[in-house]
Symmetry: C2
């Protein structure tokens, strides 16, 4: 076994990035696309254009590599959320706007990330689950408080659970179901993108209507 991780020295005789980085990117692509079990180390090596043994040389094992990728993906996924919701200076409406826009930006760039996350949370539970709650605890706390206040002042009757389910359902679900929606409704990639762009304004508006109550 290699005594120590190779220094981040020079290398990268081929084209772009260091080989370590190329392996990570290839792994990220395949893991997020097909999950852990369905991804073979050989595929990662081929995608990265490197020798199979290099994968273990740099990352010790498939599992270690996967854990690394998963954690990075995960951090990115909830990063924006937490930041927006713990901002004291923002009104609820403003938060919603920012979260929706943030997700649409993010998911346009990494469309297969949410499905990956959802799969992992269902299957794995242990590792992810704990970190999930920890990292989102402050945001949840602040959000609940804000909703409770609004309820007291009679500005809404909407339960926090339903609120979150709707917010994330309306913003991230279209990306999760992108292939399905596109096929069933006969929508091109460009059209889909345009629809998502529309939703930057629509979703906050709809959420607003839901919050205000039943007419």
């Amino acid at each position: 076994m290699p005594s120590k991780r190779p220094a981040s020295g020079r290398s990268a005789k081929k084209k772009d990035g260091s080989t370590e980085e190329r392996i990570k990117e290839a792994a990220r692509k395949l893991f997020t696309q097909k999950g852990f079990a369905a991804t073979r180390t050989r595929d990662i090596a081929e995608e990265a254009g490197i020798n199979l043994a290099l994968l273990n040389y740099y990352f010790r094992s498939k599992q270690k590599l996967f854990d690394l990728i998963m954690m990075e993906n995960f951090r990115q996924f909830i990063g924006g959320l937490s930041a927006n919701f713990t901002d004291e200076t923002l009104t609820m409406e403003e938060k919603v706007k920012r979260v929706v826009n943030g997700y649409i930006d993010f998911l346009t760039e990494f469309p297969d990330l949410p499905l990956f996350i959802l799969n992992e949370i269902q299957g794995n539970s242990s590792e992810l689950a704990v970190r999930l709650r920890e990292e989102l605890a402050p945001a949840r706390q602040m959000f609940f408080q804000q909703l409770v206040d609004a309820k007291k002042e009679g500005r809404t009757t909407l339960d926090p659970f339903q609120f979150v389910a709707n917010l994330v359902g309306l913003s991230v679900f279209p990306f999760v179901a992108k292939p399905l929606l596109q096929r069933v409704l006969n929508v091109s990639d460009e059209q889909f993108h345009a629809y998502m762009d529309e939703r930057r304004k629509l979703v906050p508006m709809w959420i607003g209507m839901m919050v205000k109550g039943k007419p």
Copy 2:
């Protein structure tokens, strides 16, 4: 190799259903729960309480068994949708009510089906994609017509794509994200069920608000 598929004769010396059926049910459970790659034929055999060789005896291969299960799952998933949307006698509001209720019933019973379907559609494409469009073509046709009519009469400005994205997002997404929502918002299984029950009325109401336009 077995020359012909065993007749569906009697047998079933153990407890319930024919062994063929028991294998299928075990396979359905594991495949939908963990996906193709992560499921071992040994696990299926054990879950079904039968000998490993029987799996190949009845279904030839893991892949064949999987394809069978997938198609059946898939049919069930879109069955209700199609039926409701092609019913000429129903108003749009009534359709929405029925689809939402249908999904909540269905997904309460088979919570991990949608994630399975979404994964398959993303990964596989070819086989599923074609059948998907074929089976839903009449429903789509009728639904579009109805929406176009409503637009003409000024009853709505909502695009069909956004309509469907919202409808399915609000009804099925909570189930897809169930583990995530439960952990982050600290919700028990019973509470979750209660929330979903609430949504039978809430979602149609929200959809109604969205259709009517922006206040």
